[in-house]
């Protein structure tokens, strides 16, 4: 009865969704906690998609938030520009608000994928750490460009994005991302990507088209980052260049390495834990400053994260989960 194994993930997800939805409807979770849960889910998308690049394919991207920025600005421009929105509204039965929103998110994802291809193709042809530096530069460049395009608000950010994201929408996208990436990783394409991580030269000698799979992994990762960016923009109702800087990219990087490179389960757990930890640290710092009177700033949050990253690397290089996956995320092979 191996075919019945797969729905376990669906059941687990349905239970999670039902519990959170009931807690929201009964008012146990206040608006603040719902926002944190939504953010955690968006970070799950970002972390698992970065894990595809850094963990599964063994490359090194440092500008993941740059792709999220592309997704956020593209989808946000579509939904916040009355002209585009109005044109699509010409057929109100076919193009309801929700359809336009979903289309905008997906178009944002494709925009990020195109940019990912343009960045990835020249740098992934090479072996080594070039991708790291290219993507770091890309993150800075995209911020500079966004700061200078007045049409999308420049340094003020893109304002007036309608609030379309809610728990249900974000949850569905997160679930789909996890399922699609799980299926990819455990397919023959995923095996090819893993072989690049393990030994690129051996993989190439075994006939794997390494450049193709490196670029493919990178583009797919960028696509999902774009989706996450779009969701985030429609959750916060603003897209701002500073949201997508190196700081944010580094946070996702920490999630991937804390969770375990190559483990989607680890990325999911780490995305949730670190999002809550960020809020906890913020509350703690506010408390120390306002109630105890120690004059400390929010920079200490990042000091904690930097130390966390170094300590994980020094003492538990493989991260929380190593390369293991939860049973929920393993596709059982059919017995022949």
């Amino acid at each position: 009865m191996d075919k019945l194994k797969t729905p376990r993930l669906l059941i687990a997800a349905a239970i999670f969704y039902a519990v959170v939805q009931v807690l929201i409807l009964t008012g146990v979770l206040n608006g603040y906690l719902v926002v944190i849960i939504n953010r955690s889910l968006v970070f799950v998308i970002l972390a698992v998609s970065l894990n595809l690049i850094n963990g599964i394919t063994g490359q090194f991207s440092l500008g993941h938030m740059g792709f999220a920025a592309v997704g956020a600005y593209v989808s946000g421009t579509i939904t916040s520009t009355p002209l585009i929105f109005g044109a699509m509204k010409l057929n109100p039965h076919l193009f309801t608000d929700n359809v336009i929103f979903l289309a905008a998110i997906v178009i944002g994802g494709f925009g990020a994928a195109v940019v990912g291809f343009l960045i990835g193709f020249p740098s992934l042809r090479l072996k080594g750490d070039y991708l790291a530096i290219v993507t770091l530069g890309f993150g800075e460049i995209i911020r500079t460009i966004l700061n200078n395009i007045q049409y999308v608000g420049g340094p003020r950010g893109l304002l007036g994005i309608p609030k379309f994201s809610n728990f249900t929408v974000i949850f569905c996208f997160t679930f789909l991302t996890i399922v699609l990436l799980r299926n990819l990783v455990q397919s023959s394409h995923g095996r090819a990507m893993l072989s690049i991580r393990e030994n690129e030269l051996a993989s190439e000698l075994s006939g794997v088209d390494t450049t193709k799979y490196k670029v493919l992994g990178f583009v797919i990762g960028a696509f999902f980052a774009g989706i996450a960016g779009g969701l985030l923009a429609h959750l916060l109702q603003i897209a701002h260049p500073t949201q997508y800087g190196f700081y944010a990219s580094a946070l996702i990087l920490i999630m991937v390495y804390a969770g375990g490179i190559g483990s989607l389960t680890g990325s999911i757990i780490a995305a949730f834990s670190l999002t809550f930890l960020t809020e906890g640290l913020r509350i703690g710092i506010d408390w120390l400053r306002d109630s105890v009177g120690i004059p400390i700033g929010t920079e200490w949050t990042m000091v904690v994260y930097a130390l966390l990253l170094i300590l994980i690397m020094l003492f538990r290089t493989e991260g929380l989960m190593g390369m293991r996956e939860s049973k929920l995320l393993i596709i059982e092979e059919k017995k022949v």
């Binding site: 850094n54 042809r125 072996k127 070039y130 790291a132 530096i133 390495y257 700033g297």
Partner: protein, 302 residues
């Protein structure tokens, strides 16, 4: 077009290039020896600038302003950059020397973030920019059509002296020979009785102190320092090192001067282009000549 490639822009470009060169040397030397892109290198540059800032206000009380005091500040800036590089090597990079390369890279990012955020979190330093003191009186000269300040000459002079010293060290001393040996083959060098860890520490010390010197020069030339000042110059200096051929010492200097001139000329044309030119150069180099101008193509060893 005349104004974009004018003598003035070339002079400004050389000045910027001298600062990039000092940073790029550290990148390229560390990469040559341990094959690590030391992301924190730009922050060693920042630490150097703050060390110089602190040294100035410390010695202001008992030293007369002038060239001797500037020299003392330079030494302390170099000591600051070198010390932090040594510490980073000892506590963050050395334990991971024989683990997969990506772990060191991630740790380097951690070190970089730690330095930036600790500096902006410390109450004495803080996140807001500070004006850098005028260490030496600024004087302007006119050479041809260009206005040249004595700071340009100081920047170029300090960079030139340090580079000549480095060339001498690498080519003529036993330590330099050991460095070259380690960069060629770490294991063989060890078998020949070279204390590899000592050579690596020394490389970090030199690279860090050069970045520290660059921090002082940058503070002097563009008198504003802040904890995140190292990110962009670090990135651009790294691109300069890639342009010249990473691991190649003369290449880093050549790449840095090309980068400095390209950046000032592009900024004169359009400030957005000036921000992005480094990135354009990187993409072009990666597409056309990934080993850099002076780099050699290496084959994979199986």
């Amino acid at each position: 077009m005349g104004s974009i490639f004018s003598l003035q822009q070339i002079v400004n470009g050389l000045q910027l290039g001298a600062i990039y060169a000092l940073i790029a040397l550290g990148y390229t030397m560390v990469y040559g020896i341990v094959r690590l892109i030391n992301f924190a290198h730009g922050d060693f540059f920042m630490v150097g600038a703050y060390a110089a800032y602190g040294a100035f206000y410390l010695f202001n009380f008992f030293l007369p302003p002038g060239h001797f005091m500037a020299f003392v500040v330079l030494i302390l800036a170099m000591a600051g950059g070198g010390a932090v590089a040594l510490l980073a090597n000892k506590f963050a990079y050395k334990p991971l020397r024989y683990k997969p390369k990506l772990s060191s890279l991630v740790t380097a990012i951690g070190v970089s973030m730690l330095l930036e955020y600790t500096f902006s979190a410390l109450p004495l330093i803080g996140p807001s920019p500070r004006g850098f003191p005028e260490l030496l009186e600024k004087r302007m000269f006119t050479i041809g059509s260009a206005q040249v300040s004595n700071y340009v000459m100081i920047d170029l002079f300090v960079a030139a002296v340090l580079m000549i010293g480095l060339t001498f060290l690498i080519q003529k001393t036993a330590l330099g020979r050991a460095m070259r040996a380690v960069s060629q083959d770490k294991d063989a060098a060890k078998l020949m009785g070279i204390d590899v860890e000592k050579v690596i520490s020394f490389t970090f010390l030199i690279g860090g102190s050069f970045a520290g010197a660059a921090g002082l020069l940058a503070g002097l030339t563009y008198p504003r320092i802040q904890p995140y000042m190292g990110i962009l110059p670090g990135l651009k200096a790294f691109i300069a090192a890639v342009l010249g051929g990473i691991g190649n010492v003369p290449g880093a200097v050549l790449g840095a001067f090309i980068m400095g001139i390209a950046e000032t000329c592009a900024t004169a044309y359009n400030s957005l282009l000036g921000e992005g030119i480094a990135f354009v150069i990187l993409i072009v180099v990666l597409l056309l000549r990934p080993n850099g101008i002076l780099g050699e193509k290496t084959a994979d060893k199986i």
